[in-house]
Symmetry: C2
């Protein structure tokens, strides 16, 4: 099942994507909901971030190709992004003044479905509502110069997610391809993760409870490239569609 969130006539609501039709539901997919009976064509609505998240986690250095020659991490390395940085598909990513080099990172994103506390890796995926695509936008000078990544990875518009949450999905063996202005800049497979999705979720849950609607960016690969105003950023993942954002 594919869950979306969208704006129609100025009203933000949740829905189920059925082909090119959106079936409105009464509330977020992390809770009890019913179909309201209202429908709309996909082309007539503006898609929003498919969930309004609580806490937002992301994984640092989770692909061998993204360690920059440093030793392979011996444990997952999560960090936090503020929920205020989340925007939706089609949204502008705004480069902050004085941020210097700002790069794209295209990633698979997990949406938590049930409260998750101290769960084993074997059981972790049963707590997941579904999967979507995310751009973990990264201001590299702030990332190296500040004590934490609160603005390097957390400035407004730095966490686009979408276009939909796929619930019937195996996160393993999926290709992730990132393009800027149509040119491929990142290409990897989720099998190349240092710690796979269930290992990351389990590790976080050992100390930090994950709540329904919390999201986890699972890491990026390779060498990222600098974004400039006017660029078009697209990440596609097998079975999760494409996430488009433009740079302002």
């Amino acid at each position: 099942m594919k869950f979306v969130r969208y704006s129609a006539a100025g009203h933000a609501t949740h829905g189920i994507l059925d082909g090119d039709t959106v079936l409105e539901i009464s509330g977020p997919p992390t809770g009890r909901y019913t179909e309201t009976g209202a429908t709309a064509s996909l082309s007539s609505v503006q898609l929003l971030a498919p969930i309004v998240p609580g806490d937002v986690y992301a994984m640092a250095v989770n692909f061998h190709s993204h360690t920059g020659g440093a030793p392979t991490p011996t444990q997952p390395e999560p960090f936090l992004k503020p929920s205020s940085s989340v925007v939706g598909p089609g949204s502008m990513v705004v480069l902050p003044a004085n941020a210097g080099k700002v790069d794209e990172e295209g990633e698979m994103v997990v949406v938590i479905g049930r409260r998750m506390r101290n769960v084993s890796a074997d059981d972790a995926l049963s707590y997941v509502l579904g999967y979507t695509i995310g751009h973990d936008i990264s201001a590299r000078e702030w990332q190296s110069g500040d004590r934490s990544w609160w603005r390097a990875k957390g400035s407004d518009t730095f966490s686009p997610i979408g276009p939909f949450i796929e619930t019937d999905y195996d996160p393993h063996g999926k290709n992730i391809v990132v393009t800027v202005n149509g040119e491929e800049v990142q290409n990897c497979n989720t099998e190349e993760m240092i710690f796979n999705t269930q290992e990351c979720l389990s590790f976080i849950s050992k100390t930090n409870t994950l709540e329904p609607g919390d999201i986890v960016f699972t890491g990026t690969s390779g060498v990222t490239s600098r974004l400039r105003a006017g660029d078009s950023l697209v990440t596609s993942i097998d079975g999760l569609g494409e996430l488009h954002n433009s740079i302002a």
Copy 2:
């Protein structure tokens, strides 16, 4: 005015503290609310964290006495804590297994009242709903060994706040005294901050929008001390009462 949140007969609700009486209100103090007419004596209710926060910021190295001999920061140094780590007055702080040395930090905490984006320091305090006390519990080995402080400062129960939000308050020139088992372990005045409250809020708001209900821990002073199971941790701040937590 003093806002509280509390549990009475298993029901969590917001209220206004009037002497020893709690006047129930219809919703959180960051929105429109009305008094419901229900009242309770303070001694008959269990106080909870006075706000359910969205994003949680905290300030690193914001007192000269807490820089550990390192150079004085030339800009505010915020970091993020997960909202899942927030608990209330009287709650247990649980030391995670294998965390090693876990210290207390007693701090003034700002509660945002209005959406705040790129606001000057001169105007920043007009966006504040009020002030409370917080314990920024810190697992020092994880703080130095992990790439980010997601669990060092974000494990479950690591962000107690309370007991109430004071709206009629000037954050300047206030004494902060922290005791463990009755013995004073930290003692400072908010005038000793490297960046004062309005400078911290303004700096965050330049890149990261602060929403109503978001909270900001404003930093700790001096040298902190190791907490052990059974300890009683109390921070008092002029005009904000006392925040009590026990260690498990």
